[in-house]
């Protein structure tokens, strides 16, 4: 427990309260030394006063575009300190609203990191602390897994089915059996020309090819088993004690 708390003491990402105070004096150094923002032509005239007036909020930051960039304190740093990714155990204890909010916070952070990555590629400089991106992606993947687990549990309780979409085993025109999952259509099957054209049956002449396919599968399986036996024999020859162990077992 103490170990878990110690590990949890690393901290996670929750950037909801990040706010940029004041204006940017110039359009310089967003996360990288020497980076200049390139506002589109429409905003150029409005962005001009930025350079002269230090304490005016200009067009760019007002629209929320500052969230695509890191905290100005981190601009030009070689490494940025970041905590651990969200663990799946910690996420399982969170309510749906918390997960929903966390998803969007992580999404904004991911957008910021991807912008930083692209800009560092453009400037041919190393991205500061790329492991942050992996941590954010891992956290988002874990949230998705948790939501999916809860959905599957509820569905199992209510219907007894695990899969969200029903389906069945069907044959195709080549005689192969596969899991066909149902699709949503606006019209019933007897009116659906595209669906009618699909053949979920095979004609008698295909039986020969089914037999050939089965023979091929068996041949491959036997070859694989023989190869494993040969490899095991070779290993036993090289390491005699393995043969003794297998005999005793």
């Amino acid at each position: 427990m103490a170990a878990a708390r110690a590990i949890a003491a690393l901290g996670r990402r929750l950037a909801g309260s990040l706010r940029l105070s004041g204006a940017r004096p110039g359009l310089m150094a967003a996360g990288l030394p020497g980076l200049t923002l390139n506002p589109c032509h429409k905003n150029l005239a409005q962005a001009e006063p930025l350079c002269h007036a230090r304490f005016l909020h200009a067009t760019l930051p007002q629209k929320g575009l500052e969230e695509f960039f890191d905290d100005p304190k981190n601009w030009g740093e070689k490494t940025v300190k970041s905590g651990d990714a969200w663990n799946i155990k910690q996420l399982r204890a969170k309510s749906s609203q918390d997960l929903h909010k966390l998803w969007y916070v992580l999404l904004k952070e991911k957008n910021m990191l991807l912008t930083l990555e692209q800009e560092s590629k453009r400037q041919q400089k190393p991205m500061p602390s790329p492991e942050r991106l992996e941590k954010v992606q891992k956290s988002m993947k874990n949230i998705d897994l948790v939501v999916r687990e809860r959905e599957i549990a509820l569905r199992l309780l209510q219907t007894g089915h695990e899969k969200p979409v029903p389906g069945e085993w069907r044959n195709d025109f080549l005689g192969r059996t596969y899991w066909y999952s149902y699709k949503e259509w606006p019209i019933p099957w007897y009116l659906n020309k595209k669906y009618q054209k699909r053949k979920f049956y095979y004609l008698p002449h295909v039986n020969r090819f089914i037999r050939l396919r089965l023979e091929k599968k068996l041949r491959l399986r036997n070859r694989r088993q023989n190869l494993e036996k040969k490899k095991r024999k070779l290993l036993e020859k090289k390491f005699p004690h393995l043969a003794v162990k297998s005999q005793s077992q």
Binding site: L10, L14, L18, A93, K94, D98, V147
Partner: protein, 216 residues
């Protein structure tokens, strides 16, 4: 995105079929130089040891049994399971030149060669003598390494994170969640789906009716 696609993205890229593992981590420049794609080398036979049977970890103290430094003890700095290799700090060294430049004639350093598992033996913590070790279960149910000669438990080495962060000494940054907030349990199980709970919380009422659709 579909779960399977997500998982495939997260999984590390597979190594080629006849890949020969070295002491370098796959993905580094040194490894890419020595194992270029398309290289085929003679197969090296490695005694198969299962994941559960593995006994030596990074940070363990081991004694070298054969070779130039036979009888000396040292700490394990690197383990390569694919080749049953263990690199012990300062032992079984050979000398080489590194960091050669146009202007600088290189540095002469001692570099450790990896040792196989049968050239290594784990050391009893109190005796400080080499012993045979086995995995056993304690009365609490914990799986531990037990020295067969004396019966003492050999504790696992302290596991350090690869990024060098020590959890006890960590100070939260501006974007980090505090420990209490992260461990706070807010989940109450209910019979509503995730979407329904969010809609209730945000006050979204769906008045549109779905058109009749057919599933087949």
């Amino acid at each position: 995105m579909r779960l399977s696609a997500l998982l495939r993205l997260a999984a590390p890229p597979k190594l080629p079929k006849g890949y020969r593992h070295g002491t370098w981590r796959p993905g580094t420049a040194a490894e890419r130089l020595r194992n270029p794609p398309g290289q085929r080398r003679k197969k090296i036979f490695v005694e198969p040891i299962s994941r559960e049977d593995w006994k030596v970890f990074r940070g363990d103290t081991v004694q070298v049994l054969t070779g130039k430094d036979a009888g000396k003890q040292g700490m394990v700095t690197q383990v390569v399971r694919a080749r049953n290799w263990v690199v012990v700090e300062g032992l079984n060294t050979h000398y080489r030149y590194v960091n050669r430049d146009a202007k600088y004639s290189s540095t002469y350093i001692a570099s450790e060669a990896p040792l196989l598992l049968n050239q290594i033996s784990l050391v009893d913590p109190e005796d400080r003598k080499p012993t045979e070790v086995d995995w056993r279960y304690t009365e609490e149910g914990e799986r531990v390494r037990v020295s067969l000669r004396t019966g003492r438990i050999i504790p696992l080495p302290l596991w350090q994170r690869r990024d060098g962060i020590v959890p006890e000494q960590w100070i939260d940054g501006p974007k980090d969640t505090s420990v209490d907030d992260a461990l706070d349990k807010t989940y109450t199980p209910s019979l509503k789906t995730f979407e329904e709970e969010i809609m209730d919380a945000m006050g979204i009422v769906e008045t549109r009716r779905a058109k009749k659709s057919y599933w087949y």
